[in-house]
Each structure stands twice: as structure tokens, then as C-alpha cells.
């Protein structure tokens, strides 16, 4: 059946293939959006539970339809465009944020073979796209022609650029261990059980032998750093300086209302889920089950989604329990702690890979 499927795909004329791919993308975007609606609700519910509140519980059973009610509310409000603003860029900015957030999902493998585009430089693609996400914020802040948004945009840009550097180095260590920039192969390199996952490399029976005992603390630490950098990269608390309400009202989103605001918020949550997926792929073995026996009847896609959900839960918990950082502390953490540590790890891991693993 699979061979016939491959034949079916390769026999198609480019135009038909293009159309089918477009339909596939549309379906994926739709499914992702619906999942995201419930994830937003989960975020609010977790937040509420930590604060001993009930959270949204009026719309639908247990408030399940709250996100859809919010969607309707946002869409039906009037779009207010400030008088002195740059209209074109003002509208363009939220669109950039949303499109970039969706674009990066194109290379994320959800299960074996379930990937929109299985390119060889998948990780580089994700890095490139996430570095483009800054534009939505900086353009939005500038086009508003107002002081708070501008300050928020400047903060946010500086923050995202700073943490991108350390994220790049952290990802490099994983790339070295996997020997490929293809995300599917990164996942495949962690097959076999949780002791092969990059987060917990304690299996001494692979290529690196007892060197895994040195790799384990480094990679575990890299995983923790990646999680914290991901928080900063997606402007989540405790690093939500761009929209610190006590200082900047709502940062770069001050002047936005109605649908454009919705797009900003949607893009932000989408970036969060992307970071959860990236963490799952890079450190938690993607779609592989934690143990090799007994649980194989569960399809891979559920393992992937379960791990993503766990990471999302962690994101939500951090929002609920950690106070906001001060801006200079944030920058110091990025440049003086994360960058040297991750750079050092790149040196150590690459040395081990070359001299012990033998992949030169």
C-alpha cells in the first residue's frame, strides 16, 4: 500500500501536486488552530487552578467553548487604527507574526512520515523562520506611532535576538549528536526508549559508551536551558517584558484591537506550541514511546501530542508561579550565563562526537 502511495505521489503532474499540497496545508492549519483554541483554554485553566480559581467555566461544558466565544468577540469588534500610524505596516505586522508562526510548522514531524516537508535543513529552517517572527513585533511597535508600543517593540526585539543565539547553540549540540539537520532523523536518533532521549542519555550501550555519563548532565542542562530560552523567545512570563503591564501597559500591542490583536495573540500561542514541539523533537524523542515494551499499541502521533501537551503544561505552570524578571537581569542571563554555557557545551559535545563517536 505504501509503495502504491509513493507511486501515486511521484506520478502526479506538478500542478496537481501543488493543489494537493495546498489542500494538505489548509487541513493542517485548520486542525492546528482548533487544537490551539483548546490549548489556550488549558493555559487559562492551569493558571486559574494554581491561583485557586475556577477559570473560564461558563461557555459550554467546563468552559470548553470559551476560546470560540472569545474568537467571535474579537472578530465582531471594530478595528481601530491610530491616526498617526502607518496603516499598511500596522495591518501587516500581526499578519507577519501569524504567518511566520504557521510557516515553521511545515517541517515539524508529528509521526513517522507525517511531515509537510521533510527537508534536509529542517532545523536551520525553523531557526530562520523564528528569527523572522521578530519583524511582526518590531513593525507593529513602530507602525503604532506611540511611545509604549515602540519601547515594547525595542525590548522585545533585543530580547528575542539575544536568546536566539543561545537557542542556536543548544540546538547545535543536538544536531551534533544526531548527525543530521533533518528533524525526522533527529527523532530517529533517539529511538529505543527514554534512556536514548537527548534529555536523559543514560544508556551506555550505544556509540558513545560510558561517555554518555558525561553527555547526560550536559544534555540535561542543555534541555533546561532550551526550555528557559524558549520562554524568553516566545515572550512568556517570567520574560514577558515586552508586554509588562506595570511598565508598558501592553507593550507592542497597546494600539491593537479586535482582529489584529487576535492575530498577535494567536501567533504568540502558536509560537509556544512550536517551541513545545521543538523541545519534544530535540530532547524528548519525538514520537517514540518512553519504554519499548507494552505500550506499542498507542500510535506514535499520540506520544508526540502527549509530550507536547506536557511541555505546554510546563509553560503554563511557569506563567503561574514565577514572578517577572527585570529587563537588565534578563539580558544578563542571556548574554553572560546562557551564551557562554551553551558555547562551552557545543565545544565539549562536538569534541566527544568527533573523537569518540568517530563521525568526522
Amino acid at each position: 500500500m505504501i509503495t502504491s502511495l509513493i507511486l501515486f505521489w511521484s506520478d502526479l503532474s506538478p500542478m496537481v501536486w501543488f493543489g494537493l499540497k495546498l489542500a494538505q496545508v489548509a487541513a493542517f492549519v485548520l486542525i492546528l488552530s482548533v487544537i490551539l483554541a483548546f490549548l489556550i483554554l488549558m493555559d487559562r485553566k492551569v493558571w486559574a487552578a494554581v491561583q485557586m480559581r475556577r477559570g473560564p467555566n461558563v461557555v459550554g461544558p467546563f468552559g470548553l467553548l470559551q476560546s470560540f466565544a472569545d474568537l467571535l468577540k474579537f472578530v465582531f469588534k471594530e478595528i481601530i487604527i491610530p491616526a498617526g500610524s502607518d496603516k499598511f505596516l500596522f495591518i501587516l505586522a500581526p499578519l507577519i507574526t501569524l504567518v511566520m508562526a504557521f510557516l515553521a510548522w511545515a517541517v515539524v514531524p508529528i509521526a513517522p512520515g507525517w511531515v509537510m516537508s521533510d527537508i534536509n535543513v529542517g532545523i536551520l529552517y525553523v531557526l530562520a523562520i523564528s528569527s523572522l517572527g521578530v519583524y511582526g513585533i518590531i513593525i507593529g511597535g513602530w507602525a503604532s506611532n506611540s511611545k509604549y508600543p515602540f519601547m515594547g517593540a525595542l525590548r522585545s526585539t533585543a530580547q528575542m535576538i539575544s536568546y536566539e543565539v543561545s537557542i542556536g547553540f543548544i540546538i547545535l549540540t543536538v544536531v551534533f549528536l544526531a548527525g543530521s539537520m533533518n528533524l525526522s532523523e533527529v527523532v530517529n536518533s533517539q529511538a529505543g526508549g527514554f534512556y536514548n532521549w537527548n534529555m536523559f542519555r543514560i544508556n551506555p550501550y550505544n556509540t558513545y559508551g560510558w561517555w554518555n555519563l558525561l553527555l547526560f548532565p550536559i544534555m540535561f542542562y542543555m534541555g533546561v536551558l532550551f526550555f528557559i530560552s524558549a520562554l524568553a523567545e516566545t515572550n512568556r512570563p517570567p520574560f514577558d517584558l515586552p508586554e509588562a503591564e506595570s511598565e508598558l501597559v501592553a507593550g507592542f500591542m497597546v494600539e491593537y484591537s479586535s482582529t489584529p490583536y487576535l492575530l498577535f495573540m494567536f501567533g504568540e500561542y502558536l509560537n509556544m506550541t512550536l517551541m513545545c514541539a521543538m523541545f519534544t523533537i530535540l530532547f524528548l524523542g519525538g514520537w517514540y514511546a518512553p519504554v519499548e515494551i507494552g505500550v506499542q499499541f498507542i500510535p506514535p502521533v499520540f506520544w508526540f501530542m502527549g509530550k507536547c501537551l506536557f511541555m505546554f503544561f510546563m509553560f503554563a505552570m511557569v506563567k503561574a508561579i514565577v514572578p517577572r524578571y527585570r529587563y537588565d537581569q534578563l539580558m544578563r542571563l542571556g548574554w553572560k550565563v546562557f551564551l557562554p554555557v551553551s558555547l562551552m557545551s557545543v565545544v565539549i559535545v562536538s569534541t566527544i562526537v568527533v573523537f569518540v563517536g568517530g563521525t568526522s
Partner: protein
């Protein structure tokens, strides 16, 4: 068919936006068009099968260089009408540069169509662009590559040295000191007599 359409679309976009970089009135719009130019250039690279170069262009130029451009342009208070005043006086120099560039491009095109191009070294089959780059960059040209990195390092240190200034009276947070504080050094227990106060 799809490739041809994409090529003309990307080529037209890159040239048109490159023109708009120069001609647009607002400097921020100029940078936006510059980003669009980089983007279409990256698209052209993808059409040629050089996906690694394309993503590198997006990461380095669009993701970092153009953001810094945008930063500087947004922070500067540039009056473009004032800048345009000197347009005629700069025209000869600009025209000279343009003519030199045009001649260079014509020469490249002429050598290409005369068939005098250098033979292209085809990479081995089954090797990705990334591996091909790595094999050349870190073996044959390792020295030059390191030298390029060193030049960048020197430039970075130069920029830091030029802008670093020491000021007195700046309050600074030193985390190690804060963490090193203990209960004994940070806390003093005092028995207060009623109506007397502390020291």
C-alpha cells in the same frame, strides 16, 4: 512551469523592491523593501537547489543584519527631505559607481555567454549541500575561513572598545555578592527599649 513562474516572480520582486529601497521616501519603508529583496534572493537560491545558502541568507541578513538596520533607522531622526537636497551634488559619484557595476555585470554576462566559465566542481552524489559545504570549508579553506572569523572578532572587539566608557557613580547589581549574603551579614537583631529607639 512552476519553476519558471516562480523564477520570474522572484526576480521581478527582487529588482522592483531593490529599486524601491532607493526611491521610497520613508527610511523604515526602505529597510522593509531591503528585507523583501533579501527574501526574493533567498527564493532564487532555493530555485537553484542551494537551500542551505538560502536559509543562511534569511537567518543572517533578514534575521540579524536587517533587524539592526531597522533598529538604527527607527531610532535616528532622519529628515529625508533634507537628505534629498544634496541629491544633485552626489549624482556624479553615484552615477560613476552605477556605471562601474553595470560594466562588471556586463563582463560577467559576456564571459558566461562566450562559454569561458570555469568548470564547476560537481559534488558527489548522495551528499547534502550542508555536508558539501562543510567538507570544503573546513578542509581546503580552513585557514581562510578561520581568518574571516578572526576579522569579525577584531571588528567586534573594536566596536566594544570604541563605545565602552567608564562612568563613576553607576550603581551596579553584582549577583555573586547578593547570593553570597548570609543571615549573619545581612541581619542584625536588636532589643529595642520602649521610648528610646535604635542608636
Amino acid at each position: 512551469m512552476l519553476t519558471v513562474i516562480s523564477f520570474y516572480l522572484l526576480a521581478f520582486t527582487s529588482i522592483a523592491s531593490a529599486f524601491m529601497v532607493v526611491s521610497s521616501k520613508n527610511p523604515v519603508h526602505s529597510v522593509m523593501y531591503l528585507i523583501l529583496t533579501f527574501f526574493s534572493a533567498a527564493g532564487l537560491f532555493i530555485l537553484m537547489g542551494a537551500e542551505f545558502l538560502a536559509l543562511l541568507i534569511i537567518m543572517v541578513y533578514v534575521g540579524a543584519v536587517a533587524v539592526l538596520f531597522l533598529f538604527v533607522v527607527m531610532m535616528l531622526d532622519v529628515d529625508f527631505a533634507e537628505l534629498k537636497q544634496g541629491f544633485l551634488s552626489y549624482l556624479p559619484v553615484g552615477a560613476l559607481v552605477a556605471i562601474i557595476l553595470l560594466l562588471e555585470m556586463l563582463m560577467v554576462g559576456a564571459t558566461y555567454f562566450a562559454g569561458e566559465t570555469k568548470t564547476v566542481v560537481v559534488r558527489d552524489a548522495g551528499i547534502t549541500n550542508l555536508e558539501a559545504f562543510g567538507q570544503v570549508l573546513y578542509t581546503d579553506y580552513a585557514g581562510v575561513f578561520e581568518a574571516a572569523g578572526f576579522v569579525l572578532l577584531v571588528a567586534m572587539i573594536g566596536a566594544i572598545v570604541l563605545t565602552l566608557r567608564k562612568r563613576d557613580g553607576v550603581r551596579k547589581q553584582i549577583p555573586s555578592e547578593q547570593i553570597a549574603r548570609s543571615k549573619e551579614t545581612g541581619l542584625k537583631m536588636v532589643d529595642i527599649e520602649p521610648g528610646i529607639g535604635i542608636e
